[in-house]
Symmetry: C2
Subunit: 310 residues, 2 copies
């Protein structure tokens, strides 16, 4: 069974790791959001790509949800003493990945090629692809002004109420090398439990990508459990956009995209609302605390996909 | 007594530290070679400025002669694992200085302003100035080809025999803000025991700088002791340029520039040759193993300057 997962950061990376535990490496591709990439200290930083790669490589810091396990902070501590900008956390080891990516991009390589090669050097077996090799940047429309995503997310701690999002550069973006090929070959496509508005919508908005899902089994996993997001601002964003956060609302957001939606057992009452959106619902334990949890949920998702394909 | 020291890397930094131990901070300026600055991983690296600043800040690694004491290497180790370029050593803390310098230069600040501010943050009391805020780059003419200085020095370990040097950009370079003012106000100018060809000659070649030494007491300290350089390729370079390395040859190199030259007691036989170059010679213990040695030699240099001024 060939599978493509669309993923943002932490939640997406965890389910991707579950799928990677089950599927043959050649049968599994993760397409990752790059709309929250940004430039900082002259470096090209790809937060979601890094979270996915570190997680699949077994190098992620499961306490923080970002960055590397066993990280050290000599660089950042010293930069602070020199009066430099420290609002974005850069660990000593993490910094090497940003530097090497930036160096290779500056030498003319594509982000997809660099991501693949650096991933292999970290012993990632599955294929990890950026959604695009072109520059796309999420701009957050807040009640006051428009903020670049990382300024909103890290520097402002997601505090300013949002009114909407704009993916700068999306019209001219092309799917990265390998993305359309992987989707065409896929038996199932999994929308990981990532933020719908700022992690998965940018991927789906890359021209040519959404049509490539047509006629496929497309399974989502709700990132909202009992009205809450396990991590990140998805529930807060929903409310600010006038949407009561729930698994049912997730189904409605993906109407016309999803074939099936996995929702948490806590949200069993939302099953009729999922069905009303024209999507098959399934309940499962969707909280992933351990690596075994990731594998179990991935197994449920793949079983559901087989049923829907059948 | 107001003093300006002209310095390259390790030897120059040591004598500068000796002078800083004696002189009032407002009376002491170090003008540092920047012709071996280079760009690496998108960073502006100033090896000689950093060696002087770290040494004056008491942060230098006296075992290696470059970089910081107590440095860690997580960044470089990780970069190596990712297949990145590791020929130039970048410690985790050192990297922060390169990044902050680069960020501020990119924001339009001058190297002299950035150097001063970052030095103060590291509690350097004396004034440390780059020789110029303009771009000058030492090119090493070897028997085979022309090499950028750091490629010759670090990557090729000074192995290719040299035929000469070219300071790219020197014609258009102006002394950095404060350099000519400090020289005009100086009672004595000290040419530290740095490499004549690649550390001090670039400083002296900045247009306007050498005339500013006219009529001043200018004291050199020979970097050649018993025919050897304590550190670095000065003696090897001399031989390749057809010059037998000796304190006397140093005097001849600086004919017309120096009023006096301090040579090591080992080289007392060279005193007549120094005199023949029109330079007053003085012998001293010039090897600086401890901080006290630096202070003692600085004291001898200042005493000699007072005699020559008298």
């Amino acid at each position: 069974m060939k599978v493509v997962a669309l993923a943002g950061g932490v939640g997406g990376a965890k389910l991707a790791d579950g799928l990677a535990q089950i599927l043959a490496p050649d049968d599994f591709t993760v397409v990752v959001n790059t709309a929250d990439d940004f430039e900082h200290l002259g470096l090209h930083i790809s937060p979601d790509l890094d979270t996915v790669v570190y997680t699949l490589a077994g190098l992620s810091n499961d306490d923080t949800g970002w960055g590397r396990a066993g990280e050290t902070w000599r660089f950042l501590d010293t930069l602070r003493g020199l009066g430099g900008p420290t609002w974005f956390q850069l660990g000593d080891r993490d910094l090497a990945l940003h530097h090497e990516r930036t160096r290779r991009l500056a030498a003319g390589e594509r982000l997809s090629a660099v991501t693949g090669d650096l991933g292999r050097r970290m012993c990632v077996k599955a294929t990890v692809l950026p959604m695009t090799d072109d520059r796309v940047r999420t701009m957050v429309l807040t009640v006051d002004d428009e903020l670049a995503f990382q300024r909103y997310f890290v520097e402002r701690h997601c505090e300013p109420p949002v009114r909407g999002f704009r993916f700068e550069g999306i019209e001219a973006a092309r799917p990265a090398d390998g993305v359309l090929e992987a989707l065409a070959a896929a038996d199932a496509i999994v929308l990981c439990p990532s933020n719908p508005w700022v992690s998965l919508d940018p991927i789906l908005a890359v021209p040519g990508l959404r049509p490539a899902l047509g006629g496929k089994v497309v399974i989502g996993v709700s990132p909202i459990i009992g009205g809450q997001a396990l991590k990140g601002p998805a529930a807060k964003m929903a409310r600010e956009l006038g949407i009561e956060p729930s698994a049912g609302a997730i189904a409605e957001h993906y109407r016309g995209v999803l074939t099936g939606l996995v929702i948490d057992e806590l949200d069993v009452a939302d099953v009729p609302r999922v069905a009303a959106a024209g999507i098959r619902g399934m309940t499962a334990q969707t909280v992933m605390k351990s690596r075994a949890d990731r594998r179990r949920l991935a197994n449920d998702v793949l079983e559901f996909a087989r049923q829907l394909a059948g």
